[in-house]
């Protein structure tokens, strides 16, 4: 996976994307027990195109020129299927802005904070998100005051109360 992350770092350095952070099940795995997944979900802030539209097309094109092919919803980068998810709302933009810097086998990278991953689960609202919130509460070291602020800012307190009786 370090080679995958090196490619993501190159894309950021070259300005193909403004910022990225690992999310989804692999982001969760950073904080809790290993969770089965076959995709590396990567949230991205894309560089603004001339017309102001946010499109994954330039990113996919840059990856194609580097020899990485699309595979369904993902792009296979150095043996790992990566699914790019553009920051499409205020919560994701904030999650990316405040993602924590870390490293994987000496390769610098970024992971979405646990509190934002919880908020994203609440917003997405599927059964598996509910299960993930349960696992986070059980295993992750959470900053509860930070979490409360995130939930309040993004109108997710009701859902939190509903899911955590």
């Amino acid at each position: 996976m370090k080679y995958t992350l090196q490619v993501l770092n190159e894309l950021e350095r070259d300005g193909v994307l403004d910022r990225y952070a690992i999310g989804g099940a692999m982001g969760a795995t950073f904080y809790v027990e290993p969770l089965l997944t076959f995709d590396l979900d990567v949230f991205v802030v894309l560089s603004q195109t001339g017309g102001g539209l946010l499109s994954l097309a330039p990113l996919y094109e840059a990856l194609r020129t580097r020899g990485y092919a699309e595979e369904g919803e993902c792009v296979l980068i150095e043996g790992v299927p990566v699914q790019f998810l553009p920051a499409y709302n205020a919560l994701l933009e904030e999650a990316l802005r405040e993602a924590r810097d870390t490293s994987y086998e000496e390769t610098p990278t970024r992971v979405v904070r646990a509190e934002h991953l919880i908020a994203i689960c609440l917003q997405t609202g599927r059964d598996k998100d509910r299960e993930r919130v349960r696992i986070f509460r059980e295993q992750a070291e959470l900053d509860l005051s930070y979490l409360a602020d995130v939930l309040q800012r993004h109108g997710l307190e009701g859902k939190w109360k509903q899911w955590t009786p």
Binding site: M1, K2, Y3, M26, T29, F30, Y31, V32, E33, P34, L35, L36, T37, F38, R66, G67, Y68, E71, G72, L76, I77, E78, G79, V80, P81, T102, Y104, E105, E138, Q139, A140
Partner: protein, 62 residues
């Protein structure tokens, strides 16, 4: 509600403790554990017709 027999409760406690131990592993070790989970799950999922790929962590591909 029925209460758990002490030996069963101990088993559940041990499972819980193992989960916390796994959660505390360094990230690269957890990623390797995810790949082992993929190796176990992939044959079952493929038999159900799902296309899945086990990650290649170590070799540079492109």
């Amino acid at each position: 509600m029925d209460t758990l027999k002490p030996e069963i409760a101990r088993l559940f406690d041990a499972k819980e403790a193992r989960r916390h131990k796994l959660a505390a592993l360094p990230f690269p070790e957890k990623v390797r554990a995810v790949v082992r989970l993929q190796e176990m799950a992939a044959p079952v999922l493929r038999a159900r017709g799902r296309i899945v790929r086990v990650w290649n962590l170590d070799d540079r591909v492109a």
